[in-house]
Symmetry: C2
Subunit: 431 residues, 2 copies
């Protein structure tokens, strides 16, 4: 496995926040780094909801891995596109749909996907926001509803088309509901003259009694207020049980007719098949790791980011599944793997705060003991996200789009870009 | 059909250059204008090849109809998304997959689609550039070939993956071949270190003996030279006969193994079913129109742009199928339909010239008696196209992308954005 220069091979599965930061910081004179990802680009999940709501183009928040790895910080890193299906811990290989890749050490940074909690058919009937592809699909479906409602005279069919149900009151749910609320408030009247804005219903359903549970009571209250000002019907303490034939059924027995359900209610670690030994798993299909990110039960295999479950005295029930944990675990593991003496520092999470946006001039921000909301929070949110996007070109384009949307009270990219009639030739079998 | 203000209804099928210009200039105090299009956005076909070659995002060259129609010039125009399938000239209605729309006068401005000349299965096996969707698909497929070639050791499989065959030597074929040539020349070495640029073959096949036939011998020569400098293998006087199991067969009996064929070799008018009377058709499935754009054999039905076939003394075998003809026919028909006295002026085409780009600093431009090539022509091409794109935001974003690509010798948007696993719910049946 060692290459001609005697370096050992570090394989990283997933080029998200954690995996890419690890590749960036690990000592490339000691490690031959191979990044494997199912996509050929790094993406920026905090803004998927803006792709879904036509505020941004996918390309503005995506960055081709090969271009990034071509940069100074990654000298000697290589990229291989593929979906890892099987990990053989005896042979020390990972297998994608295309090839078998040997490793000396393996880091799983593949993140999470949607958790449908076993509800029948949900995967096929609801729309989700856990990948660029899913966000584009959600955008297309929402635009399709508006176009069809605009030309259908039947009042009840229009009502089904114009009812948008968002399930889950975390940041993703709050953000997409807010964006749909802004659409109802600012865009419908101007651009869909045959639709009365009052016909559009945006309903946010959350099983708990508060929104943004992780952000504390103030944020919960402001989010609720903000969404209600955008005419979003927030229903707390309500659990969705099924979605069949256009009818959502809730735990309390009530029903709701809708053609569009956006599901943000849960995540689960990406699934791998293991050969040779089985890792210890925690709830949400996450790998149980020690405080050096080693997966318990396996050798030379690590996990970082959303897919890792690490408990520390400060976080007895695991760390939050957020970008900052992934970034910091990537950097910490990079340091440990780079130490010539094999010194390992345990991971300590430095919480830099959390934020969520609700709409134009409306956001909530927790930073240490400071809490911000409203216009200041919104601008803070904007600056932080802008600076976190990879690449100057992307930042410029995102900035132009945001300013354009801000001054025009509009999301300018409402394009229903249908997929081609023919499935793409090669990758349908890959997933 | 007359609405409350007694206006008659003008239905326009297709919001391309011709249809949109007609809607803009026709007198809205006389006509209730209804624009019907299968997409919810206006697109810019001259730059589809840049979407396919990762130079631009689809959104940069697309513009939502509802936003455009919301502008000053279109007061009273309305939009209905749908694919017109049937035109009933007795009942004076058009039928989409969703509804039946009555008209007083009808203008067909639906443009053209690919002509496969009856070659078996070609529609499913080659990639095309006649719509935004098709261009995205071509981009994804090209990127897929590169990613897979980068990880496959087998030399012969790599050769098939890295052979890109472009069929057709008109502007679209020359432009996409040039863009692929630039990829081979500038990008492969830098970002695909496991691929030798010499392994990449870009082959342009044209049945005639010259490229860009419509632009004259100088342009043909410069295009040929430019493409050869970009290491494109230009094969003239060669006709493709079939493409089966990864093998292209030519008229001269020769064969070529490739996994990627981009077909730009012909167009044919979009197809409609007529009830009540049949229009007179010309070759390429175009409507034969008089010099007021009236379709011969029908009443109150007009055709403009690529789908119309109009002969005049200056153009005895029909007008070229280019944006300028469509724009000018749209404006001319708008004037005729707006005349209170019913005066009609015959269409006279003012040829403003033609241009094609080959690559960085390489283009060919015909303007009246003037012929430009090289760097000056390229900048002229750039300015003309930039000014022709709808919307200030789009122009800004396109300009940033072009400058970025220019100074980086790169196309920055190489994202393989796969479609979702599930076909979008509603529109597969529509096409």
């Amino acid at each position: 496995m060692a290459d001609s220069t005697n370096k050992k091979r570090l394989v990283i599965i997933g080029g998200g926040f954690g995996g890419l930061n690890l590749a960036k910081h690990v000592d490339k004179s000691r490690w031959q780094v191979v990044l494997v990802d199912r996509n050929n680009y790094h993406s920026f999940p905090p803004l998927f909801y803006q792709v879904a709501s036509s505020g941004l183009e996918p390309a503005s928040i995506s960055f081709p891995f090969r271009r990034e790895l071509n940069g100074r910080n990654y000298e000697g890193c290589s990229f291989r596109m593929g979906t890892v299906e099987t990990i053989d811990v005896n042979a020390k290989t990972v297998r994608t749909q295309y090839e078998t890749i040997p490793y000396d050490k393996l880091v799983i940074a593949a993140g999470t996907t949607n958790n449908f909690f076993g509800i029948e058919n949900l995967e096929k009937t609801v729309f989700t926001l856990k990948s660029t592809t899913e966000a584009i699909r959600a955008r297309n479906e929402v635009l399709d509803r508006l176009e069809r409602a605009a030309i259908i005279p039947d009042k009840s069919k229009r009502a089904h088309l114009l009812t948008f149900v968002v399930v889950g009151g975390g940041p993703a749910g709050v953000e997409i509901a807010g964006a749909l609320g802004e659409m109802k408030r600012y865009i419908i009247k101007r651009e869909y003259p045959s639709i009365d804005p009052d016909e559009v219903k945006v309903i946010l359903v959350e099983g708990a009694d508060v929104l943004l549970q992780a952000m504390g009571p103030k944020a919960a209250e402001d989010a609720l207020l903000g969404l209600r000002q955008l005419l979003v019907d927030v229903q707390l303490g309500k659990v969705m049980k099924s979605y069949k034939d256009g009818v959502v059924t809730f735990g309390d027995g009530s029903e709701l007719r809708t053609d569009t359900v956006i599901w943000t209610a849960g995540v689960v670690g990406v699934n791998f098949k293991f050969e040779g030994a089985q890792p210890e798993m925690e709830r949400g299909q996450r790998f149980k790791v020690d405080n050096n990110c080693r997966i318990e039960g396996l050798e030379d295999v690590y996990a970082i980011g959303d897919i890792a479950y690490m408990t520390t005295p400060a976080y007895p029930s695991g760390h939050p599944q957020v970008a900052q944990v992934a970034l910091q675990q990537g950097a910490c593991l990079a340091g440990n793997l780079s130490s010539p003496e094999g010194h390992e520092l345990p991971f300590v999470y430095h919480d830099k705060g959390s934020m969520a946006t609700i709409g134009r001039n409306r956001a909530v921000v927790n930073m240490g003991k400071m809490y911000l909301s409203g216009r200041v929070a919104w601008w803070a949110w904007l600056v932080v996200h802008l600076l976190s996007i990879l690449g100057m070109r992307n930042r410029t384009v995102v900035f132009i789009n945001w300013m354009w949307n801000y001054f025009n009270f509009s999301a300018g990219l409402r394009l229903l870009l249908r997929p081609d009639r023919y499935p793409l030739r090669h990758y349908w079998s890959e997933e």
